[in-house]
């Protein structure tokens, strides 16, 4: 069984970011690029599944985990981290013509690449920490022509069928489906593992294959030419006010003041 995890590179959320007023793009200089934190959960989900399948009695051929990213050449370092966590190999779709791809163009190009790579199951994170659209998993499933089971908090594979717990606002649904399929996961899937030292050293020997746009033979334009959306304006979020400090003689009185306030706002 071949599991492919799609991952994205994003600017580190812990660093201060600036927007270039002229290009309306993020100033990348001095901002470290990291593996999208939500994608770490997707890698964890895939590795857990692989381990469970290996441990299951009478399991057929072993599962493999391939990490896939559409990114510049500099993504190799980040892909190494995924390999160090335990993925078997990696594929990098890398082409200058992909620059400026929006959700549609990304899903279209990635779907073509994944068809070429081959898969039984695609696992994705719920959204990316930079764009925050959360639109790619659904669109990707559509272009792959496979069921898209989103917001999974648990994944099971038995007898070639998929069983997923889908997180909802009030609880979770149990959904089953055939494979191949795409599953996007939430953070409830389990804390991503650390890359151990042996994993890091072993990652050196694993392969990262690069594919270019020309190899995909797409019939529609991608990158900024094919994007269906355009960023018109970027702005920093408004600076938050200082908030209100409640002064109270004791905890009970303070709690009462906060309770009254929440009640007034109809929040409790």
């Amino acid at each position: 069984m071949k599991i492919v995890v799609t991952v994205k590179l994003v600017p580190d959320a812990n660093t201060e970011k600036r927007i270039d007023p002229a290009t309306k793009r993020l100033v990348r200089a001095g901002v470290e690029t990291v593996l999208n934190p939500f994608d770490e959960y997707a890698i964890e989900a895939a590795l857990q599944l692989k381990e469970r399948l290996a441990a299951a009695p009478g399991s057929a051929e072993p599962a493999t985990v391939t990490v896939f990213s559409m990114a510049p050449e500099s993504a190799r370092e980040v892909l190494r981290k995924a390999l160090a966590m335990g993925a078997d190999d990696a594929v990098l779709l890398c082409d200058a013509g992909l620059q400026g791809s929006d959700v549609w163009a990304t899903a279209y190009a990635v779907a073509a690449a994944l068809k070429k790579v081959g898969f039984d199951l695609v696992v994705t994170g719920g959204l990316a920490d930079d764009g925050n659209t959360g639109g790619v998993p659904g669109a990707l499933a559509e272009y792959l022509g496979v069921p898209g089971l989103t917001n999974a908090r648990a994944i099971e594979v038995a007898d070639g069928k998929l069983k997923v717990q889908r997180e909802t606002d009030t609880g979770y649904q149990v959904v089953t489906g055939p494979m191949p399929a795409l599953v996007s996961v939430t953070m409830a899937i389990g804390e991503p593992r650390y890359a151990s030292l042996k994993g890091i050293m072993g990652a050196k020997k694993k392969t990262i294959t690069t594919i270019s746009l020309a190899e995909l033979g797409l019939d529609r334009a991608v990158g900024s030419d094919g994007a269906k959306t355009e960023v018109r304006e970027l702005a920093a979020p408004p600076v938050r006010g200082k908030g209100r400090v409640v002064e109270a003689s004791d905890g009970a009185q303070g709690a009462q003041v906060i309770f009254d306030y929440l009640k007034e706002k109809k929040l409790v």
């Binding site: 200089a29 370092e77 650390y194 151990s196 030292l197 042996k198 890091i200 050293m201």
Partner: protein, 396 residues
């Protein structure tokens, strides 16, 4: 530099000002990131309490083992065989958490495991190293005695041959991990010079006593090792090595880790001070805006970056097989001295908050007082360097 060039070059990072990061390989950065993430999640939220209560949770040993950080620079026997630089980076990140945690890993990997790996018989290596690498067995290293610190050659602990067996008697002092160890590497005087022994701590005649009332390295177990007619089979001795070069080879390894480790402590103190100075308002503006505070911060920044570069330089020399023990003394002397100065300076910026465990500064500052004298006092390292450049030994 033209105006456009200035725009293109990224502004220096407030901590890694010289961009030492760019001198590391992808793999080295991954090691650093892994250990940093572990420390951020596992150590930093808990370490103030560990320090206050004077404990180091035992389960940390297996967690460090799972990450592959115990004996990480050794090869074979379940050890990953990482480079000296990768090992140094791990020490730096662990010590940015707490010196006690780094000391645990140093003693396990660079003293106990290194000694067995370097001097042990095949049987000793197979018996102990894989379990120690996984953190299932904890090791300690018994060299220092109450009256013989800088002068280990004077040690009184004795090893007497009795048929095929060895019988050990004596007391070792200030032994990190002593009370929690499963195995002790003990150095003792025999008719045949100083010999090293692998002593399972369950052996009859071996016991430990906890050293209490420390105001430094509180998140670390320090013990006395008591050997009273402790009888060991002939296979317990390190087969080849005799004399002080046995333990000294191990010390040089552990000292190397300290060159990096203390820059982790220094970084934690500097970052705490910088952050505090930017937010602490006095006379209607942040104290970071005052010249005296800026001078302190800048002095800290200079020594932190220089010390880190020095650690990396010695690490690269070590990986190329060009590092002399005197180079390690150079690094330990300089970096511990500067880390302590940085911690003390940071303390002043934090004012009264600088003496509470709510901030990391006083904890690091107190820990560094131990680091100043363990693994060779600064005086001894000064004299090693003095001898190296003059050819004259001022001690012996």
């Amino acid at each position: 530099m033209t105006a456009t060039e200035r725009e293109r070059v990224a502004a220096p990072h407030p901590t890694d000002f010289l961009n030492v990061d760019a001198l590391l390989s992808d793999e080295e950065r991954l090691v650093r990131d892994t250990v940093r993430a572990f420390v951020r999640k596992r150590v930093l939220p808990n370490v103030a309490r560990w320090f206050e209560e004077g404990i180091l949770p035992l389960e940390l040993s297996r967690e460090l083992g799972e990450l592959g950080l115990l004996g990480m620079h050794l090869e074979g026997y379940g050890c990953p065989g990482a480079s000296a630089v990768a090992y140094g980076l791990a020490c730096m990140e662990l010590e940015a958490g707490d010196t006690g945690v780094r000391s645990f890993a140093s003693v396990q990997g660079s003293l106990a495991m290194f000694a067995i790996h370097h001097w042990g018989s095949e049987e000793q290596k197979r018996e102990w190293l894989p379990r120690m690498a996984r953190g299932e067995a904890i090791g300690c290293f018994g060299l220092t005695e109450a009256d013989f610190g800088s002068n280990p050659a004077g040690m009184r602990t004795s090893a007497r041959r009795d048929g095929d067996d060895w019988v050990l008697n004596g007391t070792k002092m200030w032994i990190t991990n002593g009370g929690i160890a499963d195995v002790a590497v003990v150095w003792a005087r025999s008719d045949d010079g100083i010999r090293g022994f692998v002593v399972p701590t369950a052996t009859k005649g071996f016991s430990t006593a906890k050293i209490e009332h420390k105001l430094s390295l509180r998140a670390s177990v320090t013990s006395e090792l008591l050997l009273s007619d402790c009888r060991l089979p002939g296979s317990a001795v390190f087969p080849e090595v005799r004399g002080l070069r046995g333990p000294l080879a191990c010390l040089s390894e552990a000292r190397y880790g300290i060159v990096w480790g203390v820059m982790g402590s220094a970084r934690a103190c500097y970052e705490a001070a910088l952050d505090y100075a930017k937010h602490r308002v006095q006379f209607d503006r942040p104290i970071a805006g005052y010249q005296l505070t800026q001078e302190k911060l800048v002095n800290m920044l200079l020594e932190l970056n220089k010390g880190t570069l020095l650690a990396l330089h010695i690490g690269r020399m070590k990986d190329e097989g060009r590092a002399h023990p005197a180079h390690v003394s150079f690094g330990k002397l300089n970096n511990v001295r500067e880390a302590l100065a940085i911690a003390r300076e940071a303390r002043t910026i934090l004012g009264a908050n600088g003496v509470t465990l709510e901030y990391p500064v006083i904890r690091h500052m107190n820990n560094l007082e131990s680091v100043l004298t363990y693994e060779g006092t600064s005086e001894v390292h000064t004299l090693i360097l003095g001898q190296s450049i003059t050819g004259l030994a001022a001690f012996s």
